[in-house]
Symmetry: C2
Subunit: 378 residues, 2 copies
């Protein structure tokens, strides 16, 4: 039979694409999922195979709330959780429900380039707000509010994709205050929050949702368990949960992922999720150190802040046009993502995004060596 | 622990809601799914847990194409299939990609009321086209084209929800010709096509997609396997498949349901899906006969055409206001769906939709008896 594709990216054997934002196939917890599938089927409960309740299985939301309460160190209520089929589907749903084509939204500069494509599909006008080492420059956002009335700001507050930066607590508070004052939503993509490799980040923006209607936290099992499950959650104020639950798509199809929720439920209850995240943190932390050392060896001129969590190094090679340089790179069996991809204003030309999560430590070392060959010092 | 909801509708014990469009919990094939889960996990392939290829797992599409080729009696190509997370999510995606708020679409009168809610969320202006016993009146549609330029028509061509009617072959051909001539899309919801209880219906509108860009067939495993899987497919022309595959949501999140596709793949390959459908047909066919007999006994004045497939009886009680009558009905521990719910123009007042699939034969008999008590003859 002809070879057919299963995964989103099929790379030639031996090729090292350091730009990949996917988790490592070898780290996907197939054994833990097998166990939770066995537990689900031995309980013989057909209800998760029926149309599911719109907000998501109540027992799953309870287990998830308990897990998050522990992980966030602050109480999370099951009734403020809404089960999704992943962060991308959640962003799409939020755009459908809260925006109309032509409306303005704010994003960070740089930002996750594939979220930008979702906003484009919805005909939204994107205005970007600069960042510095403390994350989004909230004063710049305040300035932009004089000119624009955004429907929402899309932010990745913790271990941002691509920059790795984390918004400080003071700025989080100011951002939320501005959203309340000016009446725009904050869509916080918090999918990297639980992947901290050193000291914990400030509390997630999810911590505000109980009191603040404007904050919507989007999260996912893709980075902490397995992307193929297409399972995620939104944490938001009851007023926002009601809007999600009442939409036509859910009224018709029911909850977004009932069967998979039932499998994940077992995995949370047995501690398998906590264990998986601990394992990922340990392994990713090692790989982060390896990439840092390799960059220091081969690219002493590189400018970057060591990431404290997430998936990415955001590396500046001053004066280089990384989009232009990429034309040559594939013949060295290596790749990265050029900074311009993450810019809404065609800037960031001398940056590249590298992931330290998709490849094993030895592959990371080989990859950086190859990069050096095709990007010799000027 | 407090009782929490898992399914979309929790009915009090003993209550018989003959309006329900869900499959019977007791008929959901949990054993077949257990077997396919065991087969998946014993093969130990982590790829379906990774971000999936946008169009859907190639092996799953191949197996589905072979199954459909057999079921439709005409060749179906895997490359014209696109895997979705159910028909509702598919309709939502098609609205996002192909419409803008304020645009006109056509629907059948009556039509599936929850699809109408999806169109409403997208700000679409709905114009309804009448039906008769041969399905959508295509000449009426042609007339409406003088006044409107619809973006698409949403049709349920076979065993329609709620009317049970099936579009004739001659009308199918004329509808497709009009779509080509006037450049509107046909979104054909074909989720009941494989549930025929007598002679087979005309070929699905999916049979046209190879040659006709305008036809998009939406289908699902919800009625033929289990709704909780949130798994479905679109069959369309390559030009349309490209548009779906290239959208921002999929570029970001990958294929819509990779892990569940891998489980369903095993179920198709072992013949479990074919067997399940055969079982459903046999059981639903019996229930159809029981409901028909009970209606004839208790409602001799009822006007309806015996459905030849699908889930529903569309029953007219001439002169009754079924929305008004419904106020009393719940105290008899029984319910139905009033016809007005399915109308885009506040008509169909003396119709009701009854399902013969959700309840066992004895429950159907009791349900119709109860209905008789609260809807005595005039």
């Amino acid at each position: 039979m002809t070879e057919r594709s299963i995964t989103q990216f099929d790379l030639p054997t031996g090729f090292i694409d350091l730009g990949m934002g996917n988790p490592d196939l070898a780290l996907l917890p197939i054994d833990a999922l097998r166990q939770s599938a066995e537990a689900y089927f031995s309980a013989n409960d057909p209800r998760p195979l029926q149309y599911g309740i719109e907000q998501g299985n109540g027992y799953f939301r309870l287990a998830l709330a308990e897990f998050l309460t522990e992980a966030y160190g602050a109480s999370v209520e099951p009734d403020l959780l809404f089960v999704t089929s992943g962060a991308s589907a959640a962003l799409d749903l939020l755009c459908s429900l809260f925006t109309r084509p032509g409306e303005v939204i704010f994003v960070e500069e740089p930002s996750y380039f594939l979220a930008l494509r979702i906003f484009e599909d919805h005909g939204l006008r994107v205005v970007s707000i600069p960042m510095d080492d403390e994350g989004l420059i909230v004063d710049a956002l305040e300035g932009a509010l004089a000119e624009h009335s955004p429907k929402f700001i899309y932010t990745i507050p913790t271990f941002q994709n691509p920059s790795g930066r984390t918004l400080t607590q003071a700025r989080r508070e100011k951002l939320v205050a501005l959203a309340q004052q000016y009446g725009f939503l904050i869509i916080a993509d918090e999918v990297y929050h639980l992947l901290a490799y050193g000291q914990p980040p400030p509390p997630p923006l999810a911590a505000f949702v109980k009191d603040v209607k404007q904050v919507i936290s989007v999260n996912s099992f893709s980075k902490i368990l397995a992307p193929g499950l297409r399972l995620g959650w939104i944490q938001a104020h009851p007023a926002m949960i009601s809007k999600l639950v009442g939409c036509g798509m859910l009224d018709s199809g029911g909850g977004m992922n009932p069967f998979v929720s039932a499998l994940a439920l077992g995995l949370i209850e047995t501690g398998g999720l906590t264990e998986n995240i601990a394992g990922l943190r340990a392994e990713y932390s090692r790989r982060l150190g390896i990439m840092d050392a390799a960059l220091k060896t081969h690219f002493p001129e590189a400018v970057y802040t060591l990431p404290k969590g997430g998936f990415f190094f955001w590396v500046r090679l001053p004066g280089r046009d990384m989009k232009e340089m990429r034309r040559n790179v594939k013949k060295y069996d290596v790749d990265y993502r050029p900074g311009a991809l993450f810019s809404s204003r065609e800037e960031m030309q001398d940056f590249m995004r590298l992931s330290f999560c998709f490849y094993s430590s030895p592959e990371i070392e080989v990859g950086i060596e190859r990069l050096k060959k095709c990007l010799p010092s000027i």
